[in-house]
Structure formats: structure tokens, C-alpha cells
Subunit: 305 residues, 2 copies
């Protein structure tokens, strides 16, 4: 079965890893690049890196992002020099940014660079950015519009978000390999990633709705909410400030036009009647992924639905 996954950061990376472990062939992981930004002249793709590191089993398992055993020698020296240090750069992690920046500067597409990195990491699957051109996510806070990393890292996603924009998305089509993977897929999985910050950027790409409507695969999402909390990140606060129920019903309302099935946590079974009213079928299971076998089990549910 050909499987395509849409993924953002840590949650997306973990479910992708489970899928890769149980279904390594015919797997394509399509990753949000709305978080991408430039720092110190480097092209940084945080979600692509998190997914790459997790799939390669290089990720720091405690924090979920970054590389296991990484050090901060460069970052500490940069602090001594008075440089900007709000975005943490590990010494090993820096190598990915240097590689990507060099290759993009030589004219390679982000798709090509990502393929090269995945190959260097020994991965057999296809790892794809959602598109090749920058489509930066912008967020409106009470103080005005800010860049994603400004909100997410520098302000530690503490401010209520009033609006999200995916700048340039309507003029940027998904990459041709993304189109091919989704068109050919027999199962499409939406990983438990933030709908506003990881999935909507992908949905907003030029022509994406038509592409999606033409995909024959069943579309199965895993809710990133467990009860009234997101496993990681600011989703609960975003649901609240953007006027949605702060639970998997809010997720279902956001995704209802994009999915056939929502996998939700077994503790959220009471939400099923309201979710199914949205026209979305439901499956309840344990959705928290602590261990590799949690990831595999959840991946199996997503494929077996």
C-alpha cells in the first residue's frame, strides 16, 4: 500500500517514525515548511529537521527536536561574541543548516536537498518539503504581525494568536513529487500535528484543494489533542484564541473538509457524537506516543482503519 503522510514537527515526526518502522516501503512523508526561516545567513527548516532526525533515530528523545548528544560549543561562543542566541543551534544540528544553505545557494531545490539529507541519513522513504519556495507563516498577536519563530521560539508561544497567514501560499504550488505522492497514495495519514501551524500551511498551497479532492486514498488524521491539552506546543491556546473547542472536537471542525476519519484518544470518546455530526468518522485508541512501540501501534491503527 502506498502511504503518504502530512507532518509538522515533533508529533508528525513520531507518527512518521512509527509508520516507517512498520511500513518502510512506499512511504512518503510530506513536511510543513511554513516554519522555515533564515538566521545568521543560514536556511533553517525546523520541521524537516525534526522529521529527518526522528526518522534517522538521531533525535534527542527528551526534547523531541535536535540531535541526540549534540553540544552547544558554537552557540556558547556566539553568546560570548554578543550574537543572537534565542534560537538554539547545536553543533551537529548546524551541519544540517550549513549543508542545506550551501546546496540551496548552488541552485538545488529544497526537495533535492532534503532528498540528499535523507539519503545521507540512510533513509529509504521519500521525505519531501511541502513546496520549494518559501511560504512563511505569519501570526497576528495583540501587538501586530510577527514571524513564526519570533512567536514560537523567541516569545515561547506565550501570546494569544488572533490570526494566521501563510504568506505566498496561494501563489506556490506543492512540489511535483508531493502531487505525485498524494495522487498515487492508497492511504493518506495526517499526523498529530498542529492544524493551524503545520497542516493549514500545506492545505493553503496553490491548487491544493483540487489536488486533495482528486486523491482516491482514504484520509485518516490523528488528533494532536488529548483531553483539553496538546501533547506538545501551543495548539490548546490557539484553539481557544481562534474560537474553537479546546479538544479533539475543535480539531475535527478544522479538519472536517479534509479527512474521512479522525483517530482520537480513548479518553475522548464522549466527543464522538459531536465529531461525527461534522461528517467525520472516528476511531478511539491510545494516541500518546511515548515509546517506539506506541508509535508503531498508532501507525498500525492509522493504516488499518
Amino acid at each position: 500500500m502506498k502511504v503518504a503522510v502530512l507532518a509538522g514537527g515533533v508529533g508528525g515526526a513520531r507518527l512518521s517514525h512509527g509508520l516507517y518502522r512498520i511500513h518502510p516501503r512506499d512511504l512518503t512523508v510530506i513536511v510543513n515548511t511554513g516554519d522555515d526561516f533564515q538566521l545568521h545567513g543560514l536556511s533553517i527548516s525546523p520541521d524537516l529537521d525534526t522529521v529527518l532526525y526522528t526518522l534517522a533515530e538521531w533525535a534527542d528523545s527528551v526534547q523531541g527536536w535536535g540531535l541526540s548528544g549534540d553540544t552547544r560549543r558554537c552557540a556558547e561562543q556566539l553568546a560570548r561574541l554578543g550574537g543572537e542566541t534565542w534560537f538554539q543551534l547545536g553543533d551537529l544540528d548546524l551541519a544540517t543548516h550549513l549543508y542545506r544553505t550551501q546546496r540551496l545557494g548552488q541552485g538545488a531545490t529544497l526537495t533535492k536537498v532534503t532528498e540528499e539529507l535523507a539519503r545521507s541519513a540512510g533513509l529509504q522513504l521519500r521525505l519531501l518539503p511541502m513546496c520549494d519556495a518559501p511560504v512563511p507563516t505569519k501570526l497576528r498577536l495583540a501587538s501586530g504581525w510577527v514571524d513564526f519563530q519570533d512567536y514560537f521560539v523567541r516569545r515561547q508561544h506565550a501570546d494569544p494568536v488572533l490570526e494566521c497567514r501563510y504568506q505566498g501560499a496561494d501563489q506556490t504550488p506543492p512540489g511535483p513529487e508531493v502531487v505525485k505522492a498524494l495522487t498515487e497514495a492508497e492511504r493518506i495519514v495526517l499526523a498529530p500535528s498542529n492544524p493551524f501551524l503545520s497542516l493549514q500551511p500545506i492545505f493553503s498551497l496553490q491548487g491544493f484543494a483540487e489536488l486533495w479532492a482528486g486523491c482516491r486514498a482514504r484520509k485518516v488524521a490523528v488528533s494532536p489533542m488529548i483531553g483539553e491539552a496538546a501533547v506538545k506546543g501551543p495548539l490548546a491556546s490557539l484553539l481557544a484564541s481562534l474560537g474553537q473547542p479546546v479538544n479533539s472536537l475543535g480539531v475535527a471542525r478544522l479538519l472536517k473538509d479534509w479527512i474521512d476519519v479522525l483517530i482520537l484518544d480513548e479518553g475522548d470518546a464522549h466527543l464522538i457524537p459531536e465529531i461525527e455530526k461534522c461528517g467525520v468518522r472516528t476511531v478511539c485508541t491510545l494516541t500518546l506516543m511515548k515509546t517506539d512501540s506506541d508509535r508503531e501501534r498508532l501507525a498500525r491503527v492509522a493504516l488499518d482503519v
Copy 2:
């Protein structure tokens, strides 16, 4: 006494350090930037860095460049990813490049960034790039024109150089602080740096000859040749391939229109008659700088002439 120094890489850094130790006030070090280049999206200024690290007493004393105690975690990871690794990047050294690149990207001049780095390193002197715009040194080898770092690092300066060009120099004036420092200087010291690769790029700047002619200071150079060898780098091979005597007489002929006095190694006293025929006065002393006190002693000679 106001002192200005023209310097390139390791030799220039060492004499500048000696001068800084004995004459820390009213010292300006003007550094070649013909070696500057871009790699992995980063703006790298090898000579400025060597001088900065040496003055700050951060330099690796064995290799003469780079930072003492630096590590190569990022570079090793970059090799694993299949990246370009011909130019060595230490983890601590990278911080300088990240800082510089970020600040240049924000619109700061190279002069301003260098001042900030020097201040962060606790230096009291003025450290200046020769100019703010890129003036890349290009070298003609038998195989054609190449970039400086291609010749110097990637090919390990093994190829004979047939011609040097300082691209854009005739349209790029020295920075205003360089003009001020040279005009006000009461002593100008040309460090034992490669005339072709470190000093000529400075001399070639727009209006530099007129500026130089208007400087009242005595101009004292230290020869980088000892016998028929350069202390470091490819100067001997350049003198040979560009048709000059491979010793301090060759240096004197290259510098004769720019200096009043050439300090040469005491073993080269037999060259004095020929050098003085060029209209250059000579002083003989021990010019090899192994220790800090060697640097200080040679600096004192350069100031006392």
C-alpha cells in the same frame, strides 16, 4: 605615537600582537580582506579572524589560525552529510562567521562588525578591514583563474601562480577609518605578510597610492622571507613564478615604492647592498617570531627605527 599596521594572516597577526603588547594605545591594525569568501551562506574573513584571535590571545598557537581548544563536531557531522569540508570550520570559529553574517545581513558594515567583534574580545585597539565592499583576490594558474581559497586551501597553494588580480579594488576606496588612521599615523608598519596576497590588495584600493603619498609617517616593513623561505605560506613559490628573487631582495623590489625601511633577518645581511640600491634603507634583526617576547622585540624594532 600613533601607529598603523597593515597586516594579512598569521605573520601580520603575530607582529600586530607584539605591537599591541608593547604599544596598546593609539594602535590601528588594518587587515587585508582579499581572502574573504562565502561558504555555506556564511561570510568568512580569514585574515581578520586570524588577527582577531591572535590579538585576543585566543589563537591556536600551533597552527597559527583558528581558535585554541576548538573542536570539529559540526565539521565532522557535515562530512557525514556529504557536505563540502575542504575549508576547516571549528565549532567556536563558526560563531564568528555566524555573528558576522547575521550583522552584515542586518546592514552593518564589515568595519562596524569587526569593531563589535574586537570589543567582544576585549581589545582596546582599532581593528579595521581594509574596506567594506568585497575585493576578492583572483589568481591565474596554468589551468585558468581561480578564487583565492580555491588556490590557497583547496589546492593547498601547490600550483604556480602566474598572475594576481584584486577584483573591484580600483572601484573600492579604503574605509574612512582606514584613511583617518593612515593619515594621522606617526609610524606605519607593514607586517611580515605576503606582498602579493596581503599587501597588494590593500595598495590596489581606489585612491590608495595618493593616500599613501600624503601620509607623513615613516613606513617600515618587516620582510616575511628568511633566507629563501617564507616563514609560512606560498610566498617563495609566488616570488619564483612571478619572476622575483626568492628572498628579501624580491620583497624589497615589490615594496620599494611603498616603504622607507625594510627590516630583514640578520642572516640576510648579504642582501643589503642590492636592497639599498632600490632606495630602501635596511635594518637587520632576528625576524622569526616564535614566542611572545620575539613578537615584542620585533615590534620594538619596527617602532624604534
